[in-house]
């Protein structure tokens, strides 16, 4: 307490470090990231290499996670799928971040009737079954990777917009914003140089919670056969294959399923931990 170097970030870090579940989640996530990154290089098999002489091999020395119905190495496919799933998770979150933060900041900053209309639109959008549109989009315009990011990002921005708007509303009355305005700075400069840096905390927290939601949506699409295309794999498409061949080869479901669930688990715990650490006032749950 007597130390004066106790900044907000340092305080938050100390609180986060005391949270055992959150720290465990960080290590778990780092591990999963690392395996997904180097796994495809480490494996002596490629994710698409078929070996019809060795189909449905149970996990063992040659194939760490076994092989599937076409003799493809499940370890290579799971780690490669991890790359895709994580990449989709991060990139689509980024898309939703950009849309949500911009919209929320604008709404909060403009205020008044404009704000009321913009938030009313969010309320209306909130109540719509977006999955229907995403499915429609993917079916109608083909399984385009870019479209996948955009479609998922476009669905998941709403909560981000609400959170950013609420924070902006609070912050725009602050003295430093008034000072910036008195100095005659342009609106965009005030928005991006003065307001945005102060919104980083809640944005990070919510982004951590958006990644699992996005990954789940990607997996749902892949599970319905609308995500990435064979021979490429994502955890969702692997889980689909595994679920179909569960009786013959349970490991086809077990490994991608475990990776996927552990990632979701860790991200949710980390998000909760970050919220507690960065915003001690908001109680858990």
């Amino acid at each position: 307490m007597t130390q004066q170097s106790s900044s907000l970030g340092r305080d938050a870090w100390l609180r986060l470090r005391a949270n055992r579940m959150a720290m465990l989640s960080i290590y778990l996530l780092l591990g999963i990231f690392l395996i997904s990154l180097v796994g495809p290089w480490l494996s002596s098999y490629s994710y698409e290499q078929q070996d019809l002489d060795h189909i449905f091999q149970s996990p063992g020395k040659n194939h760490l996670f076994g092989t599937d119905n076409l003799g493809r190495d499940v370890f290579a496919r799971t780690t490669y799928g991890g790359r895709i799933s994580l990449a989709v998770g991060l990139l689509a979150t980024l898309v939703s971040l950009v849309i949500g933060v911009t919209y929320g900041m604008l709404s909060g900053y403009l205020g008044g009737r404009m704000d009321a209309w913009m938030m009313r639109a969010v309320d209306v959008l909130y109540s719509l079954p977006f999955i229907i549109f995403v499915i429609l989009l993917m079916v109608l315009f083909g399984r385009n990777f870019l479209l996948l990011f955009l479609a998922i990002g476009a669905v998941e921005w709403l909560t981000m917009a609400r959170i950013t708007r609420a924070q902006t509303l609070n912050l725009k009355k602050a003295e430093f914003v008034e000072a910036a305005r008195a100095l005659g700075y342009s609106h965009s400069r005030i928005l991006f140089r003065h307001l945005l840096p102060n919104l980083i905390g809640p944005i990070i927290i919510y982004a951590t919670l958006t990644v699992p939601a996005v990954m789940l949506l990607e997996a749902v699409l892949s599970f319905l056969g609308l995500g990435v295309q064979a021979p490429m794999s994502s955890w969702g498409s692997l889980i689909k294959e595994g679920a179909e061949k569960m009786d013959a080869a349970p490991w086809l479901l077990f490994f991608p399923g475990s990776f996927f669930c552990l990632t979701l688990f860790a991200l949710n715990f980390l998000g909760d931990g970050l919220r507690d650490a960065l915003d001690p006032k908001s109680s858990k749950d």
């Binding site: 209306v124 719509l128 429609l136 789940l216 319905l224 889980i239 688990f265």
Partner: protein, 306 residues
């Protein structure tokens, strides 16, 4: 209260119109058409079919025609099943999805609310930790992992319930359980948080001081405020149940509306896609209104027209 209903209805009309317009042009600008099937149809027949359904008219003309029919409550015939009206197809498939959704919701509420209340009453004991850990696991276990696992254990190994199909009530168990457990987990957490907050309030303490039994305090006094987060969650939950049913119907081979919708989109069955989207949108809007009314009844503070 009636003001709320009226304002919601007035909002619903433009919302539904925008959704319908968006879907209409999205389907029409997508590559392919309803009569581009894999086995080639002779050109003359295709032209005839298209003119029969008015597809050779200018797009805007088709759009106007569709809305004119829509205002009369006519969703048009299905392009893929020419003997069927879209409304008939929906009327056949929706009850299946509805049964699935209602049973899932029932399971979610019956498990989630008691578990959350118990956890709140015995905070920081094993009766709190155990259900809350289970619910965290339930949230992180997606339906498409849980579903196959339930099939494997309860059907393939133990043979208690049938795994696939939709013939009788015993077929309902596994799909509803798969979909319901996720929401049960969520509701349990919301209930616990809401109850913990409410149990500290003065009026609950007053009720206790009056000597009301703890069961009565819980169900009569605390539940009304403590369950508010659950009610608020019901709106998104309905939307989630619908999207969840897409996956569940695909896992368990259930002939519900979700499956019809995906097939229709693949087949470019324009009228069927539009009809289903409109149906879902209307349903969701109505359910949200219901949730708002429920909320207004439970929480006097929220009784203002938005």
């Amino acid at each position: 209260m009636s003001k709320l209903i009226v304002s919601r209805f007035l909002q619903a009309i433009p919302t539904i119109w925008i959704i319908a317009t968006l879907t209409f042009f999205m389907t029409r600008y997508a590559p392919g058409g309803p009569f581009d099937s894999e086995r080639a149809i002779p050109e003359e027949i295709k032209v005839k079919l298209q003119s029969h359904f008015g597809l050779d008219q200018p797009l805007f003309h088709q759009y106007l025609l569709y809305f004119k029919n829509l205002l009369r409550g006519d969703l048009g015939p299905s392009f893929k099943y020419p003997d069927w009206e879209v409304s008939e197809l929906i009327a056949t498939a929706f009850p299946v999805s509805l049964t699935l959704g209602l049973f899932s919701l029932l399971i979610a509420l019956l498990i989630g609310i008691p578990a959350g209340m118990l956890a709140a009453l015995r905070q920081n004991s094993w009766l709190d930790y155990l259900p809350m850990s289970l619910s965290m696991a339930g949230i992180c276990l997606p339906t498409f992992v849980l579903g196959p696992l339930l099939i494997y254990t309860l059907s393939t190994q133990l043979g208690i319930f049938p795994a696939l199909g939709w013939h009788g009530p015993s077929d309902w168990v596994l799909p509803s359980l798969t979909l319901g457990l996720f929401y049960a987990s969520y509701i349990a957490r919301l209930t616990r948080a809401g109850m913990l907050e409410t149990l500290q309030l003065d009026y609950v303490r007053t009720a206790r001081a009056k000597g009301a039994s703890s069961l009565r305090v819980l169900t009569k006094h605390a539940a009304r405020g403590g369950l508010l987060p659950v009610v608020t969650f019901l709106g998104p939950a309905f939307a989630g149940l619908i999207s969840g049913s897409f996956v569940i119907e695909s896992i368990f081979f259930i002939p519900g509306l979700g499956k019809f919708f995906v097939t229709a989109a693949f087949n470019r069955d324009y009228t069927m896609v539009l009809g289903t989207v409109l149906f879902y949108a209307t349903l969701i809007i109505l359910l949200n209104l219901l949730v708002d009314l429920l909320q207004a009844w439970l929480d006097p503070k929220s009784r203002e027209v938005r």
